[in-house]
């Protein structure tokens, strides 16, 4: 197993004093699902947003540490953030389709890169929608507004939109929090399929989902990484008392 991402002593504090990270260090493996879980305000989303520099949009008071992706420190000011965000795709908690057709949503990122060839774009649409397990459901209505789809379908379109860019890493921030169990099942199934090609980092919306999907799991509490290890072991036999309490549902 290769370490795709190495996080070294990462700390971050927002200007308004909310959710922050304190000295987080961890390695994230390639072609696996790594789950970041823990109670709200633990720093999971913040960590995700560091990995594609989306935190650049937020007022950050102070940050330190390094994040190496394929050996390069992406927190370096000289980093090409546009290229980084194409390489590190993100799916958000609420399915946000852009106000355009399904097809236009999928090819949005590619068009930004200047891809105009119809064959390439069509190919990307089909490939990414199949990977997101939604192709069969919507292949005949690609020119309809994406907003007309159900929440679960929209979220899979959002995933497809990320995959169309052929990223190497896929970040998912509670991607099923607003979905019904059937849609959730479909998204989770798609995730397990994804890790064959991608490095997947998931903030799950429940401990159960964490346990179902994790190859590796990291437990975060108030900005600190409490425990990190193999998914199976961490959920059945945690080493830390705090992890055990949370996994057993004693607090949350």
């Amino acid at each position: 197993m290769v370490d795709k991402i190495i996080i070294e002593n990462l700390s971050l504090q927002y200007s308004d004093g909310t959710e922050s990270l304190r000295g987080v260090s961890m390695e994230i493996r390639q072609n696996a699902v790594t789950v970041l879980f823990g109670p709200a305000g633990g720093g999971k989303s913040t960590l995700l947003r560091c990995l594609n520099r989306l935190n650049d949009l937020t007022e950050v008071k102070a940050s330190s540490g390094r994040i190496l992706i394929d050996g390069e420190n992406i927190l370096d000011p000289k980093t090409d953030v546009i290229a980084l965000r194409r390489k590190v795709g993100m799916v958000f908690a609420r399915p946000v389709t852009l106000p355009m057709s399904i097809r236009e949503n999928i090819i949005y990122g590619l068009e930004l890169m200047g891809e105009k060839r119809k064959s390439k774009l069509d190919e990307a649409v089909e490939r990414s929608l199949k990977l997101s397990a939604i192709w069969d459901e919507i292949k005949d209505r690609l020119d309809e507004p994406a907003i007309a789809l159900s929440g679960g379908q929209q979220q899979r379109v959002c995933l497809a939109r990320v995959l169309a860019l052929q990223p190497e890493i896929v970040l998912l921030d509670e991607p099923t929090s607003g979905l019904d169990p059937i849609s959730t099942g479909k998204v989770e199934a798609a995730l397990l399929e994804l890790k064959k090609e991608y490095t997947v980092i998931l903030v799950p919306h429940s401990v159960q989902q964490a346990a179902r999907t994790a190859d590796h799991a990291a437990f975060f509490l108030t900005g600190e990484l409490i425990e990190y290890g193999d998914g199976k072991t961490l959920f059945t036999n945690p080493k830390q008392k705090k992890t055990e309490d949370y996994v057993m549902g004693r607090f949350g």
Binding site: L57, R85, G89, V96, L98, P99, L112, P145, I147, C158
Partner: protein, 288 residues
């Protein structure tokens, strides 16, 4: 017993309150309807093809008002040329780029104050800057520039509001897919805000079309025997023409005055209706 009485009482109070509010609402609409009907009745008889397409003669006591109509059209277009790009650019800066700091706050304060300045002051300012200092003379150019400055605050603040109404999540998603800030604005935000921006633009221009004071010293002519040839010519304009024939010309036939007012009113109301149609259509089509 008691509760029953109270609840009936409450209903009476609600009905009473509701009637009062309805009455007040009706009263606020009455002056507008009254004005329109009054001008329609008084000026309707003056409207004819000759009135709309002819030049005034007999010391403006007869003939048409074509030069004033064309002049107002020119001034409105001239105002749009300057104020629309500038206003939208300023709104994009304020909504999408500016951070909340001292400079931004100063800009906002200036815009708010600009909106509160009496229009005659704009006229004097335009006279000083455009007519005299920049030597544009009393011209369509100088008047359009003056009207532009007056219109800017309306366009900036409505456009900024329209831009801000576009959900933040579109920006985040777009950026996360590798878009630059400008790509996000040009491909998504502007398109979604366009109906709101257009509404603001039209309302701003509508005000410019109806103003007299700002063009009084900068571009309006008392009477011209021909249409203006270039942006450096002065022009007749509907609001100023109305002022002239109402106060400066003795023995002016009253239906010409009201006819002119009617034309100006229709001009402005048409713009208003267009703005409303754009807004309601966009709202029906909006995907968020």
């Amino acid at each position: 017993m008691m509760t029953k009485f109270l609840s009936r009482n409450r209903h009476t109070v609600q009905r009473l309150g509701f009637s009062v509010i309805t009455l007040v609402a009706v009263f606020t609409v009455l002056p507008i309807i009254g004005t329109v009907i009054y001008i329609l009745v008084k000026g309707g008889s003056a409207i004819s093809w000759e009135f709309l397409s002819g030049f005034p003669h007999d010391g403006m006591r007869a003939g048409g008002i074509l030069p004033a109509i064309i002049g107002t059209l020119y001034l409105t277009l001239g105002t749009a040329v300057f104020s629309v790009p500038l206003g939208i650019a300023a709104a994009i800066y304020l909504s999408e780029y500016a951070r909340d700091n001292q400079v931004t706050r100063l800009i906002r304060l200036a815009i708010i104050n600009l909106a509160g300045i009496p229009s005659v002051v704009y006229g004097l300012f335009g006279l000083g800057l455009f007519v005299l200092f920049l030597q544009f003379g009393t011209s369509i150019l100088a008047a359009s520039l003056t009207l532009s400055i007056m219109t800017l605050p309306v366009i900036i603040s409505t456009s900024e509001e329209a831009l801000r109404a576009v959900p933040q999540s579109f920006r985040t998603v777009s950026i996360s897919l590798g878009a630059t800030r400008w790509q996000t604005i040009s491909r998504i935000i502007l398109k979604e805000a366009l109906p709101g921006i257009l509404t603001g633009v039209i309302l701003g221009l509508e005000r410019a079309a109806g103003e007299t004071a700002p063009i009084l010293f900068t571009g309006a002519a008392f009477f011209l025997p021909r249409l203006p040839h270039s942006a450096f010519d002065a022009t007749m304009a509907l609001p100023y023409h109305l002022f002239v024939i109402s106060t400066q010309v003795p023995e002016m036939p009253i239906q010409i005055q009201y006819g002119t007012a009617l034309v100006l009113l229709v001009f402005v109301l048409t713009m208003n209706v267009i703005a409303t149609v754009i807004r309601s259509r966009a709202r029906a089509r909006r995907q968020w």
